[in-house]
Symmetry: C2
């Protein structure tokens, strides 16, 4: 004899209800926000280390160019500051790894850790680099390039943090911050390039083009920073860019890029002007870092108070929910008739629907913010293609792309797109290539 | 007196090296793969529950249409099967939540849990629904709509699992599987729609259009399934779609969509033909689930063996690494000269670079696979917009979009895009809307 359907065993009520998963979803968001707060903190420390390294790079440059005559004394405290910040950054990296062991690591852990794995040998190699600078064994350009490589590695960690953020508002701020830091780094490279150019004199079309490239790269970064920043930070940024410094900068850019005799005084004036500008940038960067912290705190607090409200509702509802309203709008009143607790259940269904729509909207917004990071990813992909198919180092691939952009007066991203679209025409790689598309 | 830079304190060697983070990145990937294996397992169980519910829906439909005359006996064992599978699905949900507590939950936990929160009240409401069917209190169409809503909720969990997958190969299979399951559900809806249409007779342009819509929706799903499937599964799919069943189906579709007298025999023949087709689909779905399991196992094993290789290298290298080669290609030999262990360090740098490029390529591939899910997201967004601005239920919003698509002979996605682009023209929502974009 067959059992009548209605007496068949039903799911035991001990199993978790829909509301528990509403809460679980909220808890996931809180975990992600906590994690983002820690990553954001690390980004702030990386920003300070990058700034210190940029200063050390500038001093080392002058130290080497003057054959040890200048900045010898100032280098030591600057290096001490770098070391202290390096310690803080390393501790932040280690903490991230420890959290990952505890299962509360970042969502894009693999890529973030891979970036960290890339930059750590650079930090390990700093003492040897400094010894060679002490011994005047390097040319200024070599020293500058080495520091630039290390800074690029640190910025790629920040980039990954921005790309992995799961909250669109925080992601916006991280994208703004990454672009500001990258723009500031281009400004630092321009400072070194211009100082060397003015000190050696002459100048040709190649110099003019490279200088222009550094200016354009900066401006594009600051453009994206502006697009993703709030009005308060933008006002600070405009205020800090004093008109007199900007006017002086533009005048020296115009004259410096053309031909001219070596001029140590002009080189020094250029360096000082750029330094004032970069130090002003630092205050904007500090403000961004503070805003980021405040935003993380605010979002976490809000999510926690919402979680509490859910939990209270769960305690009220637990005995009454049987999903009676689920089928209400499925063509007709297909399920149970009106009963006690109906309005509470309706509010739970509404909450689930609102949560789901909010999460979807967040995900859409996140896609939009992340799209701004695609430009860099395309350039990275084009570099990878060149490295695989033409056996280039990353440095060589980057130089080739940049050179092509300068020669053809195109943007780096355009050249990268051309390279990627021409992938089939490149010579086959002679060793097994990474799986590029 | 200032300290000489070279005697300044250095980062202690106890801090983690680049290679540790190479390993940490690999470990993240393994965690994600383990997690994907569990989610994939759940997707398989959901597929079986959906199939059982589709059968129950079909039986309930005939049971109600025949005023309890037919399928009364077969319903009981079918319901028992549904209950057993429901238990398994609920257990899978609970396990996911428990894992999240342990910090090994899915990356897109919030959205996945939100979908589960949405569908659980539907499972809770099933006993009441079945009681009303027993009591013949519902029309066939009401019962069918209720089951369809529940199945849609279960499929949205599968959708989220596919959208959250972090490995492109697994993501491809999940996308294929989601689309196959969704296509099969449209086939089930067509079975119910056609059976009712043939049993009641007559037929007009509206019926023809709705039938056409169900056919087109199916075909689009199977198209995406085909795009993302391997040749072996595709061969099975072609083999299982026997030509004779397909020919019979097409003939009945052609005659059924037009006007005609009520024909119980034809309705039964239609139902049987559709059922043969849907049961054949089930074997393809089972194969997809098995492939998914095998893929997860293979990928996890591969990642684990690679991790082991890294770990061995770490043991060999630990005392010798000082990042000596980091600056090698930064314009010149800026760091230390050649030394013992150099080739090992080179191989570590190569590994880091390869890992980084592989992760980037994976991420690019993932973006491509996920793009195929955007169509559904756009429709969801358009629905949300209508719900907020026109105070519609989800069901009403979906109906309105579908109706517009049918009337205008356009695809659902095209109508959704129009709605989204017209967002500014919609009446302002009278209550605070969810943050739609």
């Amino acid at each position: 004899m067959l059992q009548h359907p209605c007496t068949a065993p039903q799911a035991p009520p001990t199993m978790k209800s829909g509301l528990s998963f509403l809460i679980a979803a909220r808890r996931c968001e809180i975990d992600e926000l906590d994690q983002l707060a820690r990553t954001s903190e690390l980004v702030g420390v990386i920003g300070r280390l990058v700034h210190a390294l940029q200063r050390e790079r500038g001093m080392s440059n002058v130290f080497l160019a003057s054959q040890g005559g200048r900045f010898g004394e100032q280098r030591a405290p600057q290096i001490a500051e770098c070391l202290a910040l390096e310690q803080a950054v390393r501790a932040g990296f280690d903490q991230l790894e420890a959290e990952n062991h505890r299962g509360v690591g970042p969502g894009n852990g693999a890529r973030l850790f891979s970036r960290i794995a890339w930059v750590l040998p650079g930090l390990d190699a700093l003492p040897a680099l400094r010894r060679r600078i002490d011994a005047l064994e390097l040319k200024p350009a070599q020293s500058t390039a080495a520091f630039a490589k290390l800074v690029a590695g640190l910025l790629s960690v920040v980039f990954e943090a921005a790309d992995g953020a799961t909250d669109p508002e925080i992601s916006r701020l991280l994208v703004a911050m990454f672009n500001f830091m990258q723009g500031k780094e281009f400004a630092g490279q321009e400072r070194a390039f211009g100082a060397a150019a003015l000190a050696t004199g002459h100048g040709d079309e190649a110099r003019r083009l490279q200088w222009l490239h550094l200016i354009e790269s900066q401006e594009r970064c600051f453009q994206v920073f502006g697009d993703f920043s709030g009005s308060a930070v933008l006002a600070l940024w405009r205020e800090r860019q004093s008109d007199s410094v900007l006017a002086e900068l533009e005048r020296m850019r115009r004259t410096g890029a053309g031909p001219g005799a070596p001029d140590a005084a002009l080189s020094q004036a250029w360096f000082d002007c750029c330094t004032r500008r970069i130090d002003a940038m630092k205050t904007v960067e500090d403000r961004l870092a503070a805003d980021l912290r405040a935003l993380c705190d605010r979002k976490t607090a809000q999510a926690r108070s919402e979680l509490q409200a859910y939990q209270q509702l769960l305690d009220t509802l637990a005995p009454q929910t049987h999903g009676a309203l689920f089928f209400d709008d499925a063509d007709a009143q297909a399920a149970a008739p009106a009963q006690f607790g109906r309005h509470l259940e309706r509010s739970v269904l509404d909450m689930v629907q609102e949560q789901s729509q909010r999460l979807q909207a967040m995900s859409d917004e996140l896609d939009t913010v992340r799209a701004s990071l695609n430009e860099r990813k395309l350039v990275e992909r084009a570099k990878g293609l060149l490295m695989a198919h033409r056996r280039m180092t990353e440095q060589e691939a980057h130089k080739m792309l940049r050179q092509t952009a300068m020669n053809q007066g195109r943007r780096l991203i355009e050249v990268a797109e051309s390279v990627l679209s021409m992938a089939d025409y490149l010579p086959a790689p002679d060793r097994a290539p990474p799986p590029l598309r």
